[in-house]
């Protein structure tokens, strides 16, 4: 329980740090581009919206930074992130709400698949060290050195060359309306297939290597020798003794790796014009849509924190030592 509380306190602290970074970055923009944009939209946006942008971007220079910060926190607690310039008149929150599910599904599914495949392969390769399986290592090293987005470009050109057997752009056919019927879901899965394969291929190598190295290290531990000496079946020694312990660093590294996966996924979304957060963010940058950029950074960071917290809970379940204290 103490472990749990300590981690929880850490995440609250990190969330606060992210919110504070998000507060300061726009205030460092030289030349006040946001005021210019707001001035250009006068007559179109309501005074409420101007007020919320003022609080978000510190447009009122007469207020002290501390008061700005208090106002900012108060506004965030209402879930008001301002309006998106690029998707006028939609508020940032509704742009986020329509883009977030796509990214969450894409990252969630691909990360779980590549973690599972990479870890299982890592167990086998680490256990059978010195066999032909070691030949996999240079291949995976090369694959994990390739940038996600470049692999995506190659996938697009291969599919184009082979005659468009899979859709290469977008999240669903333009003629369809997003809803929960079978036709739409099938179409969305078909569109997600290529980006998902790209991310899995590019990220599986990292999991494989770290699991392999941990397996090799753990195999030499005394408790594995004891398990073997007891005459347990090889399967039980591998899964119950060696792999279970070798998995711990992978699980605790899961959250950190997620930050990298998020970055890679953003670019994959860009390559495939996948309607997720990454594509929104890159478009927002091209359009100088500052409120949307800030909102996306905040939401992505909070989502990564939540995923880290889940990884910690998994760690708690896997490692009894963390449960024992307190």
């Amino acid at each position: 329980m103490r472990f749990f509380l300590r981690r929880f306190a850490f995440y609250v602290f990190t969330a606060w740090a992210a919110i504070t970074i998000n507060f300061f970055i726009p205030r460092l923009i030289p030349g006040d581009p946001v005021s210019a944009l707001v001035a250009g939209m006068r007559g179109q946006i309501t005074s409420d919206q101007i007020q919320s942008l003022t609080v978000l971007f510190g447009l009122d220079k007469h207020e002290s930074v501390w008061m700005q910060y208090v106002d900012y926190l108060e506004q965030l607690s209402h879930g008001d992130l301002g309006i998106s310039f690029g998707n006028f008149p939609l508020p940032v929150t509704s742009v986020l709400a329509s883009a977030l599910p796509w990214t969450l599904l894409l990252i969630g599914v691909t990360t779980i698949i590549s973690f599972a495949i990479g870890t299982l392969l890592g167990i086998v390769v680490g256990w059978r060290r010195g066999s032909w399986l070691d030949g996999l290592l240079p291949v995976t090293t090369f694959l994990s050195s390739i940038p996600y987005f470049w692999l995506g470009l190659i996938a697009v050109s291969v599919v184009t060359y082979a005659g468009y057997f899979l859709p290469i752009s977008g999240g669903y056919d333009p003629g369809l309306v997003p809803s929960w019927n079978l036709e739409f879901i099938g179409n969305a899965i078909e569109h997600g297939l290529l980006p998902a394969i790209t991310i899995v291929v590019a990220s599986v190598g990292g999991w494989l290597l770290s699991m392999r190295n941990m397996m090799v290290t753990v195999t030499a531990e005394d408790y594995v020798t004891v398990a073997h000496a007891k005459g347990l079946s090889e399967r039980r020694v591998v899964m119950g003794y060696a792999a279970r312990n070798a998995l711990l660093p992978s699980v605790s590294g899961f959250g950190m790796a997620l930050g990298l996966v998020v970055g890679g996924t953003f670019l994959v979304e860009y390559v495939f014009s996948y309607p997720g957060i990454g594509l929104q963010m890159l478009q927002a940058i091209a359009r100088h849509d500052y409120p949307l950029i800030q909102g996306i950074f905040l939401v992505v960071t909070l989502a990564v924190l939540a995923a880290n917290f889940l990884a910690d809970i998994a760690y708690l379940a896997l490692d009894p030592r963390t449960r024992k204290e307190g």
């Binding site: 970074i21 066999s131 190295n213 020798t225 590294g253």
Partner: protein
């Protein structure tokens, strides 16, 4: 990376308190490191890239930005990697672009390593609130997704040249190294050789500089390499999405133009394949060196050792780490005489 951290505890060289006789040991270690096939391969590839980066525009056959009438041509004798939509030579772009990639990678790696060493070693060696808060800061930086943060900052900073990008990447990616260094420093600071040096009245700075730091070399080197890989990938990603200023050629820039000019639908594969392969080759070379460091520190990770032997009676015995090979007695029992 995790394996390196765990392996180090067993592989730390014994303390050499007299200060003599350390040199030959180190020389042998360096040779053992260099003889490793992976390290040699990696270093040779890196060396080639370094030479290309230094010579850059002097060996490029054309000016990378110069237009010509050879529009969108495939690879051939005149243009080894083909040309772009306005007749620029892609081979020259790749060669000239190497410098910017190497520069940002090394500069960001250096910045991140210095910050990481200062914060990691300080928070590991000292104790109390200051150390705890330094460690909390590095944990925060680990968890916050780096690429969105870097995109936002470079977007805010005016005229983002190579220097700015290197600084931004360096200042946001030091935390992982700092965390590893802190963990290792924590385990080193109560070792006997450190206690002995402390007992003789050495100053804190000397303890850190001469007793602790030399034992962190492997972690520092591998986190430097890791940061260089991350920095190169990030710079290329920034150029690819068009966030960084378009001032100098780099590999991401080539891909940016290839994507923007619809190279794919036109079947101009030569426009994006060379740059991508260079990125992958550079990354592979760096990770080969990193494997070399891991294997140097934790020899069990080596994979080239022979594992399978033929026993005297013709059976094959598989050697396994941690297991005593047991050869079952052959059914006829003649084996006992041998």
């Amino acid at each position: 990376m995790t394996a390196a951290a765990t392996g180090l505890t067993t592989a730390t060289p014994p303390p050499d308190l007299t200060g003599t006789g350390g040199a030959p040991r180190r020389g042998r270690g360096l040779r053992r490191f260099l003889v490793n096939g992976k390290v040699t391969t990696g270093l040779v590839i890196l060396l080639i890239f370094a030479v290309v980066a230094v010579l850059g525009d002097t060996i490029a056959p054309y000016d990378p930005s110069k237009r010509s009438s050879d529009i969108l041509q495939g690879p051939g004798w005149k243009h080894w990697f083909g040309t772009t939509h306005i007749g620029q030579d892609i081979f020259s772009q790749v060669i000239v672009g190497t410098r910017s990639v190497m520069f940002v990678g090394l500069a960001a790696g250096a910045v991140a390593t210095v910050v990481g060493v200062v914060i990691g070693v300080t928070s590991g060696y000292l104790s109390g609130a200051a150390a705890e808060s330094l460690s909390a800061i590095s944990n925060v930086f680990i968890v916050i997704p780096a690429l969105p943060l870097i995109i936002i900052i470079t977007n805010v900073v005016p005229n983002s040249g190579d220097w700015t990008i290197a600084l931004v990447i360096g200042c946001t990616s030091w935390a992982w190294g700092a965390r590893l260094l802190r963990a290792q420093t924590l385990s080193l600071r109560r070792r006997d050789f450190v206690e002995a040096a402390r007992a003789t009245g050495e100053s804190t700075w000397r303890l850190i500089g001469f007793e602790i730091l030399p034992n962190l070399t492997a972690i520092i080197a591998s986190s430097f390499i890791g940061t260089v890989m991350f920095a190169v990938a990030t710079e290329i990603a920034l150029a690819f999405v068009g966030v960084s200023g378009i001032s100098e050629w780099n590999w991401g820039e080539i891909l940016f133009w290839a994507q923007g000019q619809q190279a794919l639908p036109q079947g101009a594969w030569w426009w994006f394949v060379p740059a991508g392969l260079c990125i992958a080759l550079f990354g592979t070379a760096l990770s080969l060196v990193n494997f070399g460091i891991d294997e140097f520190v934790n020899p069990r990770l080596r994979s080239n050792a022979r594992r399978s032997f033929r026993a005297a009676d013709g059976r094959r015995v598989r050697m396994r780490v941690g297991f005593t090979p047991v050869v079952q007695a052959p059914p006829r029992g003649e084996d006992n005489e041998r």
